[in-house]
């Protein structure tokens, strides 16, 4: 599958944190022909491995997370569903928002909003407290209780589509765009003569604290990890972020990243003419799975490559296809160049 098609397909799947099963199943089936081993673990991570067959080969891990932010139903009131959050939801996105309630089969719903005429001027300019918002599934109380038990997960009822000027736009591009990147890279590398064993880890529960990657890294014991996640891209109201969509792979530099590895990636991008930009990560925690993986067991040489993305954690996240392609190139070039 081409990168665009793969990304659109992945974003269309429903898999909020803790409920990623459909995403894992789809990816496992897709990667099966390219892998020597396909597996999972108690947290539901998707693990595909390609062995190079050379003695003493190092294990290189590619990581991106499969979970998306979402909601979870907490009850029903007059037929309307109350809900809590799965991950960092932007409450300003919620009024008049369409959602997919993940029952079997899924139900369509709308987060209803109070019309302005019953609100004060003060209330109209404030975001609505999510505790005062409800999902309307068009059912009465009795039907709603029966159809949608508490604990049912919910995601934005959005898809991912191509926008003009080489952009992709939709829900769950954080981090399925990066999942598509590492899946594509794994697929391409699976047919090449490598000197390392390669693992594609599409991890769970990143949005609630890097939980999936933490246990997967422990279980897999990689020598090198390349974490691919999104980073904020500049917008008119966020000019002070360093990265921009369309300017290439954002290569991380900072305490959370192995400095030698980071330098190698910069040198490689320069040598191959792969579009890239630097992304300083000042803290020990880059806010990505790199945090968990770097300190797994006795430590892993970890790099972070970020895909600039606008409107993170909304149903209209936006990325540049050129940036995605650049990261695929960088990953494949790096892994292919590794010695025994």
């Amino acid at each position: 599958m081409e990168l665009v098609g793969l990304t659109k397909r992945l974003c269309g799947l429903s898999g909020p944190s803790g409920f990623e099963q459909p995403v894992r199943a789809w990816i496992a089936e897709y990667l099966e022909p390219f892998a020597d081993e396909i597996g999972t673990d108690p947290l539901g991570n998707m693990i595909a491995v390609k062995r190079c067959g050379k003695p003493g080969a190092k294990l290189v891990l590619l990581d991106a997370h499969m979970d998306e932010i979402g909601f979870i139903v907490t009850g029903a009131e007059k037929g309307f569903l109350s809900f809590g959050m799965l991950g960092g939801v932007d409450q300003r996105m919620l009024p008049a928002r369409e959602v997919r309630v993940l029952t079997e089969p899924p139900l369509f719903g709308v987060i209803d909003t109070m019309p302005p005429h019953v609100l004060s001027e003060e209330e109209k300019s404030r975001a609505i407290d999510p505790n005062k918002l409800f999902i309307d599934v068009g059912l009465c109380q009795e039907e709603a209780e029966k159809a949608v038990p508490a604990g049912t997960p919910v995601v934005y009822a959005a898809s991912c589509e191509e926008l003009g000027h080489g952009k992709l736009c939709g829900k769950a591009l954080d981090d399925r765009a990066c999942a598509a990147i590492i899946i594509k890279a794994f697929e391409m590398l699976s047919g090449r003569d490598l000197n390392v064993d390669l693992c594609c880890l599409v991890s769970t529960q990143e949005e609630v604290g890097h939980r999936g990657a933490k246990v997967a890294a422990w279980g897999l014991e990689p020598d090198i990890a390349l974490v691919v996640d999104v980073t904020h891209g500049k917008t008119p109201d966020a000019q002070n972020v360093p990265c921009s969509c369309g300017k290439g792979a954002a290569i991380g530099i900072g305490p959370n990243i192995n400095s030698a590895l980071s330098k190698e990636l910069f040198a490689l991008a320069e040598a191959r003419g792969i579009a890239h930009q630097p992304k300083a990560e000042p803290g020990g925690n880059s806010g990505t799975n790199a945090e968990a993986i770097q300190i797994s067991r006795e430590g892993v040489a970890t790099a972070l490559i970020s895909l600039p993305l606008k409107y993170m954690h909304t149903p209209v996240e936006m990325v540049s296809l050129e940036d995605m392609t650049a990261i695929v190139e960088l990953l494949t070039a790096y892994v292919e160049g590794l010695e025994v």
Binding site: R92, P95, V110, P115, H117, S125, L139, K167, K310, M318
Partner: protein, 340 residues
């Protein structure tokens, strides 16, 4: 059939001042059934159809073709579109929504800086509409200007979804529901002669109806509309204005019109006699083309029938299908009464 007509109408673009698509569709549907067709410089469409009898009074049905939307006011050097509202829009429903710009339907989204980059205060407040922007993926003014222009009208996402127990979600149910009722009536055998006024620019001040009524010169007019429903948990009593499931709304008064008392009573009686559920509004809110029609020429006796709609003036209006059909049924009974 009614539902198909309404769904088709909701999908068409017709932001105030740009109702052409809607008018063209209605004209095509009505042409074989019309005895006389008039338009005017603003774009109203007025159709006369003979019925079984010619009543002593001239009867006009009226629904507006336009919908609320946005208009592009500026294109920034980095390719974003600034906008203002065309019709009254609660800006809380705009952030993170998908839109279509101009006649070529260029897709874009209303962007907003990611929640991670906001301060605690910003997270709870909403940017002014003048600070919001549409992102079509362009990276410069030149790129953007290749597909959009200042003055382009912007419509909401147009996917229609039937859901729950007989509910429908769409943009522009206000007032394509009324347009659908009129189109279906036009295609049926009528009890009496009737003028059908499909008006423009209701959402920016009932402007089209002002001149349409002068042109038709009705004695009696029935406005077929939609009205705001705030029947969600947390809103109690009169603040709900009207409730889905309680029937079609027969208003006695809104912010623009005190409806003709005899016609108000007549509609209530017709509904009761025919087992059609109805309600009236519990708040004096909203307005219709009735305000313009009533004070046209030497005055017109005016009544209205409105479908209750949640999240009105948003991309995700929610209505009950049976209440849309009830509007049609009651309008038909009204014409039968006019024939007597």
């Amino acid at each position: 059939m009614f539902l198909d007509t309404m769904e088709t109408l909701c999908c068409l673009g017709g932001v105030s001042g740009g109702e052409d698509e809607v008018r063209d569709y209605i004209l095509e549907r009505a042409m074989p059934f019309a005895d006389e067709i008039k338009t005017d410089p603003m774009g109203n469409l007025m159709i006369f159809k003979k019925g079984a009898v010619t009543p002593a009074v001239r009867v006009m049905l009226c629904a507006h073709m336009d919908e609320v939307g946005l208009i592009v006011t500026d294109i920034t050097s980095d390719g974003y579109l600034r906008f203002d509202q065309a019709g009254g829009i609660d800006r809380r429903v705009l952030i993170g929504k998908q839109v279509y710009v101009g006649q070529d339907r260029v897709p874009g989204v209303v962007g907003s800086k990611a929640v991670h980059l906001t301060t605690a205060e910003q997270r709870k407040t909403l940017p002014a509409m003048s600070e919001m922007y549409i992102d079509i993926g362009a990276e410069s003014r030149e790129e953007a200007c290749a597909s959009v222009s200042v003055g382009d009208l912007v419509a909401f996402d147009d996917r229609v979804v039937r859901f729950g127990d007989g509910f429908i979600k769409a943009k522009a149910i206000d007032d394509r529901a009324g347009c659908a009722t009129m189109v279906e009536l036009l295609e049926s055998e009528l009890p009496c002669d009737c003028w059908f006024a499909f008006t423009v620019q209701e959402e920016v001040g009932a402007r089209g109806a002002t001149i349409a009524a002068r042109s038709v010169e009705p004695d009696v007019a029935l406005i077929l509309e939609t009205t705001t429903a705030a029947d969600i948990p947390g809103t109690e009593g009169a603040d709900r204005v009207c409730q889905l499931g309680k029937g079609v709304v027969i208003p006695f008064m809104d912010r623009g019109t005190i409806y003709n008392r005899e016609l108000f009573r007549l509609l209530g009686r017709l509904a009761d006699e025919n087992g059609i559920a109805w309600q009236t509004k519990t708040r004096i809110a909203g307005g219709t083309d009735g305000s313009s029609v009533q004070r046209s020429g030497a005055g017109v006796r005016v009544a209205a029938l409105s479908v209750p709609v949640r999240n009105i003036h948003s991309p995700a209006c929610v209505a009950r299908i049976d209440e849309c059909e009830a509007q049609y049924n009651l309008a038909r009974l009204f014409l039968e009464e006019m024939a007597k």
